[in-house]
Symmetry: D3
Subunit: 240 residues, 6 copies
């Protein structure tokens, strides 16, 4: 294991370079461009004065996810032109929405829906995790703006949410996989945690071989380290 | 915790009564009705002589999932009439297909696609896990029939796959949640494992509160116990 | 004609073995598994407190029909996955709904919609007729439960509705065709009647050759005999 | 019953005025405008050099049906804009196609598909019957043109097909219902026959009350009379 | 250029023969069959007592466009069967609606929507222009009928709208292209004007080569001449 | 007119600040971020080795257009989630494709399809014109890369294509409208020209009042001036 080297030269427990640009676009209540290495996702948070149709009380936070057709190495077909979102897209946007709702007091935003749009401008692995980590910042910005406009009376946010992928590549557990690692890994896992190191969501999948309990534990340790760093970066971005 | 009692009277680590009926319908190469308590899923495996369009070599195993409109307490809208499968349906059928592919040598079934249809006749929690556990048996039946007809030369199946849900209900980790437990739980997790106790898929979601590492560990222990029992039942059903 | 023998060994005017299982599933207000030979259809009746959108007064009875993908000899594509119901499916569910409305006083169920879901678990010919015959029982069960709960004040059901197929096979008029007979017949007809032997719906189609008036008459005689037996079986099932 | 008078002043067994215009449009191989009273349908037959995808041998005849949005008293929504054909539309076009195939030797048109488009310009009841009666003429024209161009070697048409509606209005069996009669009738039936008075298709539906065998017989007698007149008019139009 | 002759024998600045038939169908508030040479479009105007959903005040005028499948030389697929309107169809119906709204006082028809359906029975070039020119007459008829019924208090129509195509064929600017000219032209332009010779819409497209300003000017001169003649014909039709 | 001032302070014939960033994303053969004032569009050109299905010879250039949901002041619904592209979207992407094909020798790229994806990250008026002007650069980049890889033998590009909007605001013809000008203008026109000042496409629409010939001329003069400047900027960007 000691001889293993990541193509990127990163240490096994090292995140990719992270860049967070707040206010990337001007119309949205929250707008963040997050770059995790070569993965770049534009996350906007839109506040609308309507509750969800299926729920009588409280507000709602939801997410939509998309990938520009040429965000990827080969062009993929535009979902709008195909007339439907793929199963993968729906699975991802459900995950983002569920994760971000975990840090919002929905009663505090009664009468409002906040939609987090995560659009991948360039993909290099880990787009769903980048969407959650960046989407959290856009959401926090939007909630601040609601507070300023008097749309909400108190802080609706409790805690922070961030996400990172971990996986086993050539027998070695590594943090924050890029596309080349992701497509060749033996198992990969997306972990969503709060800033206290507790789990919001854990999704692990064996790709090449079934993974053992000790491997799972090693991966979760890596994830915890990565999330702590991402949480710190989120705080820094929001304090700027 | 000692005073906690499940509505069903089950122990915290006790599965629901399990009934497996092979050959429930006559046309499919594999056909199994699996009942996990009041959850009943008809799993059929269909063999078609065509490879997947997007893959030049080897065969394929895929899954589709559906719920009869009145499988649930209130009638849900028929997806065929709505003109699309929900995000939830697509997420579940992707999980079933991915899990079952983990025990099949796709090269050994080159030129064939095996489709596992999991249709929920009655739902009481845990339908995706029952689909995987029952779908495995239908798949095994279908592969046997392919062997008999000379469509495949060697055993294409390695290992067994089963799935179970675990969750925290009123602070207590419990095994194999029924609907009432599932809808009130604080966190729930679907675990797919092989008969050797290794993980194929782990999907845990915080519902009420973020969960700690020790809670995660307790849940995984319960899942391992349940999967061992389900695996034994699968072997028994296939040997009958 | 005297030398003709049906593959099943049945007499020309003989129904297939009929099995009716009430309460096959637990959530629906009415739930019946009907088996006509190897054709098995799960019929549920669901009561919802809403009138039809397009009708200001009275209640409504409607039907939906589906076939599990592997109910048939070869797997057919799942309609939910294809994004639409076939013309055949729509034609059948319109027939079922129209037929069952013929025995219900819609004003007596004002404010309610009863949906009859007919899902074919296994197909061997005659699925639309089995759906009507079984759907009637589920409907009757649901109306009884509405009465018990005080949702309706008086009996909303007048008469009984049942259906059967007839056709000309190798020059011989026969009753209740199975799939092998149906696919090779020269003309086939679906007949829906009430318990008084009056017609609700008659749908006859020449397959191989145009049929004469005397052939039509012979087929209608067979249908009347079959419906009388089905009606008796319905009464017996409902009295049980 | 003797005092019954039709609003139109027609006798009970009298067809509406029939006008057949051949060559109404110039591009199609067959093009007929048929007017049955105020019901006007443009029927075109298009010959394409392709067999049906799902059938290895022989040719095919198929039909499509549409109604211009304001063919009816109130504007109906355009199906192309709604993104799907209604169940009613599909049911009708399946009927037209099935009926017209009954008079064509599909092997004689091997390699070709003839599509009959029936578009209702103005509706006043009986549009599906007018489509079949007019569609037959367009089909005959198209087959003649195929013969002339040497696309087919022999006459592919055997017999004639026409259709008419009959129904019971205020207790009286009548022929060829217009819209006002159709919407108020107690039962109505669409009958498709050949020129020899044999049945191709019979579709009867009770609207207000179940109908008796003697009523059915009276309706079929009326239909036979009407079809004989329509067949004569078809021959006259084709001989012109 | 002097030696150029149009296949039709028309002069470069000559319209095709124009025939306008008012009251072609009976149900619509306005119904016009317009024939520009071999192009024939049925334009109906339907008045509905509902404002547009997205607009709180005033009324609305909208248009829908369709082509019968065999209006063209080769059969095109039916849009209703394909499940969507093509981009071309949507572009055309947006143009028709926008053009006709330019001559209507929407406040004067508050609470009403007028839908102009333009269905091409036979196509030989210029169908969108014929739809606008004929649609105007149907619209005028409908507004008159609204006035008569007291649905509107004052004249809602100001000015007239007509449309014509112009293009450069073999280097020669010509008016009112038929299909053979249209498919071979170097540039074509659809011009919508009012009766005062002012522009409502100008849409010019280079097909073979980019066009110069002087060519544009020559085309606009031809269009103005054609529109003046079409406007006169509209007045004559409406006065008849 | 002399007292008229644009909100932005620009002169009537002044373009918005233009920024062109080549290589904004890394996967596409051509990738350009174009900013026209606050309008920002990401244009990528993707080369695929396949000809268009409907065309036997030569290559193809096509375009797709999309707007991120929160590119606009209020969030618009995601087209992929709605299951279809709006008429507006289709109209725009047809215009972009048609315009860019006007400068490509399709025979020279035989066997290849180049897709220009124009995705609006932020909208402030003139998105279709920015898409064409930026899309041209992405296209030129992609054709260069095809040349380098030996996919094409000779230069496939002839001339340059750019687009700009012009309109009449408060009676004054102005160049390059931003959103606030666009939504309040009396008429607006999108003009696509080549670098020689010839027209590729002209689309003018009266919004408030029909426009006169002299107004049209003034607008075309402004457009010519703007296009000349945009063409120069394109050359500069491509030479960089």
């Amino acid at each position: 294991m000691s001889s293993f080297t990541r193509v990127s030269g990163r240490a096994a427990d090292q995140l990719r370079p992270l860049h967070i640009t707040r206010g990337f676009t001007k119309h949205a209540e929250g707008s963040v461009l997050i770059a995790c290495g070569d993965t770049r996702v534009l996350c906007t948070a839109s506040v609308e004065e309507r509750g969800p149709a299926w729920k009588k009380e409280g507000g709602w936070v939801t997410a939509e996810y998309g990938m520009l057709p040429r965000a990827t190495h080969d062009r993929s077909r535009r979902e709008a032109a195909q007339g439907k979102q793929s199963g993968r897209t729906q699975e991802i946007q459900r995950l983002i929405g569920r994760s971000l709702r975990a840090c919002v007091d929905l009663n505090a935003i009664a009468g409002y829906t906040v939609t987090i749009d995560c659009d991948v401008l360039q993909a290099d692995g880990g787009t769903r995790c980048a969407s959650i980590t960046g989407g959290y910042i856009a959401l926090a910005e939007a909630l601040r703006s609601m507070r300023k406009r008097g749309q909400i009376k108190k802080d609706a946010l409790f805690g922070q949410i961030a996400a990172v992928s971990v996986g086993i590549v050539q027998g070695q557990p590594v943090l924050d996989l890029d596309y080349s690692e992701d497509s060749g890994c033996e198992c990969d896992m997306n972990v969503v945690m709060n800033e206290a190191g507790q789990f919001i969501e854990v999704q692990g999948t064996a790709e090449g071989h079934a993974f053992r309990r000790d491997e799972l534990n090693a991966l979760l340790d890596l994830a915890a380290k990565g999330i702590a760093e991402l949480s710190a970066a989120q705080r820094q971005a929001l304090d700027a």
